[in-house]
Symmetry: C2
Subunit: 393 residues, 2 copies
């Protein structure tokens, strides 16, 4: 186990009818005006906009609005928000939505006191961040764990880049999670979100770290729970208990706890390879992962069978113990059973299904390789990346 | 799943050679003088006293000392510490030791700005706490998770009470955990501490909460890990990887995370029943639990087989699925296999082994029943408590 520092100061308020508390939390820090950030129509259809704004109004908290955040959010919306808060200062940024809205709000909060352009944070300047506006959020769709971590993922179409930055200043102060809101999420979003949650755990389980059996066990527990929860929610989308466990699994899978002792923040090659698909072809994040992680795993499983073999035993009960070709077989079995699970919930596992053609592979490779080498289990070169996309085809 | 609020602001610095950072952390908050709290000889033998005091000296931080904290700490030492810091103010309280030292330090920190006697906190007045000195600690023995929670457990021999209080003001600001220090712990302490860790998880697993399969899975993972780690450390006490996982399991088992969604803070009858044994007969905390939890579980398993049956399946692989007498049998199997594990690591499972006689049972019952009714799975009356101690004999 490697040395680590654990810190996560976010207050999570979780459960039914918790949303109005956002106003109490803001009042406690004497906020008078907050930038309300959201996406599209969902929060109007599901009543959350009304819940939030009524509560803020009761507390005499003004809420200038910045709507229109897209899934796979872009830096232009962030710049718009930063300009707004620099011109008319607010006391806090209040995302009301899913991961895209939280990531946008967190980056706006960071940019508020920064002299330069907020894209700088994504190009290595996050360490210059000294201060950010506080973030108080209401989560309406669980997957990314943005509500409980210090990461923001944003795209810059001009630079053909979808990437992230992290900073202690962008941990939300308070995040409210009412799983009841998520009972109206469309099936595809539930499946894609669920894949993101599983992948967050697997990015640690497959990073090659040793001496972290306890943390591995925590990760396997999340994956096994999701393997039950996703199919259950496809059948019974309004199952509150399942929504609640899905939501908390999402937070646990990527609040940083699974990285403790592993010597890094996980592998995350699959995420990077998936980001390029999202950027260039608009592929939803979860779908990009159901295609790319199995392909990445297949590419590496002969050279590094152990993490995949352990996964196969712990999650799918594949026969355990042997070394050598036994281990390689178990590794492959684990990957195949993962793919099989993805197909069983309607998720794509090939680029073809995403309507991405062989002719596009060069271009996607170039885009992903801009960040090469990356990956903890094996640092991937652009040659590796090309082979993995080919395997994914 | 019940609504919950999750907050744990403690910064944990974990790993080899981390102890000197305590001075850096104190310097960052401009501390000039800190009350150094510790127990007996251990920190002199294992070099930790030297590491801490040299680091503080380098930073020009004065450290008036309060030594002599006992395991199963008492309120008189707390009162001594409170008097000291009221007479000569300090900027922080710095426990260097195990759970007893942390609990003592946390209570001193709470008493520093309180007009009354610190035992008041244990008699229901913790909610009056408005402020406490910050706590920066160095953990030298993992078990209680005091380094990462908001609880303090202290005894009052005059009142024949061993009990706890909790307050957001007593979360440590920073806790440093160097597992290497724990490689010199005596075997009995390793076993007793390990039982405390397992019991913290089981107090949630057996509380009767429903709709928390994800959280149960996290708890089972901790118990299963400990079932491997305790025997390993008996054989190889200097196995750093095992010590590190044991230490992090300890923190995870009682930092509050396992209580999320369960509607309460766990059952904790076994803890209360064990406290009376510690108070009246000086029984080490872990040993009191290896005797009392199986007895409590046996007493309740016919009326409430489900949590114990699930435990048997998840932890010991006992054949799963059936209801009725099948479930009751699996419940009993789980309890018997737990007891069997305890015996295999040399822990007591009867009052007799603790040299507690049948004639003492009345007295112990009276002591524990002072807090009755208690317990989440079944609120225990003094009649129940008597029967459980008899079963434990």
């Amino acid at each position: 186990m490697k040395n680590f520092t654990w810190w996560n100061p976010t207050i999570v308020i979780f459960g039914k009818d918790t949303i109005p508390q956002i106003a109490d939390q803001l009042a406690a820090v004497k906020a008078k005006s907050v930038l309300l950030v959201y996406g599209g129509k969902a929060i109007f259809k599901n009543g959350v906009y009304t819940q939030v704004t009524e509560a803020l109004t009761k507390r005499n908290i003004a809420f200038p609005e910045l709507g229109g955040v897209k899934s796979n959010p872009t830096i232009d919306k962030v710049r718009e928000g930063v300009a707004r808060v620099k011109a008319s200062p607010v006391d806090a940024v209040v995302p009301v939505g899913g991961g895209s809205v939280f990531d946008t709000a967190k980056t706006i909060a960071a940019g508020a006191f920064y002299k330069g352009d907020p894209w700088d944070f994504f190009e290595g300047k996050a360490s210059e961040l000294q201060r950010a506006l506080p973030i108080f959020g209401v989560l309406t769709a669980s997957a990314t764990a943005s509500e409980v971590n210090n990461i923001a993922v944003v795209s810059n179409p001009e630079r053909e880049a979808k990437t992230s930055f992290n900073s202690p200043f962008i941990f939300p102060r308070v995040s409210i999670i009412d799983p009841w809101v998520q009972t109206s999420l469309p099936e595809e979003q539930t499946v894609n979100g669920g894949i993101d949650i599983m992948t967050h755990a697997m990015e640690r389980l497959f990073d090659g770290a040793e001496g972290v059996g306890l943390m591995d066990a925590q990760g396997y527990a999340i994956v096994k729970s999701m393997i039950e929860l996703i199919p259950e929610l496809r059948m019974n989308p309004e199952n509150y208990e399942a929504r609640a466990q899905y939501a908390w699994a999402a937070s646990l899978a990527h609040n940083g706890s699974l990285s403790c002792g592993r010597g890094g923040r996980g592998d995350f090659s699959s995420h990077k390879l998936g980001h390029s698909l999202s950027l260039l072809f608009g592929v939803p994040h979860g779908a990009s992962l159901s295609v790319m992680m199995p392909a990445w795993a297949r590419y590496l499983h002969k050279e590094n069978p152990t993490p995949f073999a352990r996964f196969a035993e712990a999650v799918f009960g594949a026969g355990g113990g042997g070394q050598g070709s036994d281990e390689e077989e178990r590794a492959l079995e684990g990957i195949e059973r993962l793919e099989s699970f993805y197909r069983s919930v309607g998720a794509p596992t090939t680029l073809r299904e995403l309507k991405i053609g062989e002719a596009d592979i060069e271009r996607v490779t170039q885009n992903a390789a801009a960040f090469a080498p990356f990956g903890a289990l094996k640092p991937l070169t652009s040659d590796d990346i090309l082979e993995i996309y080919k395997l994914a085809y």
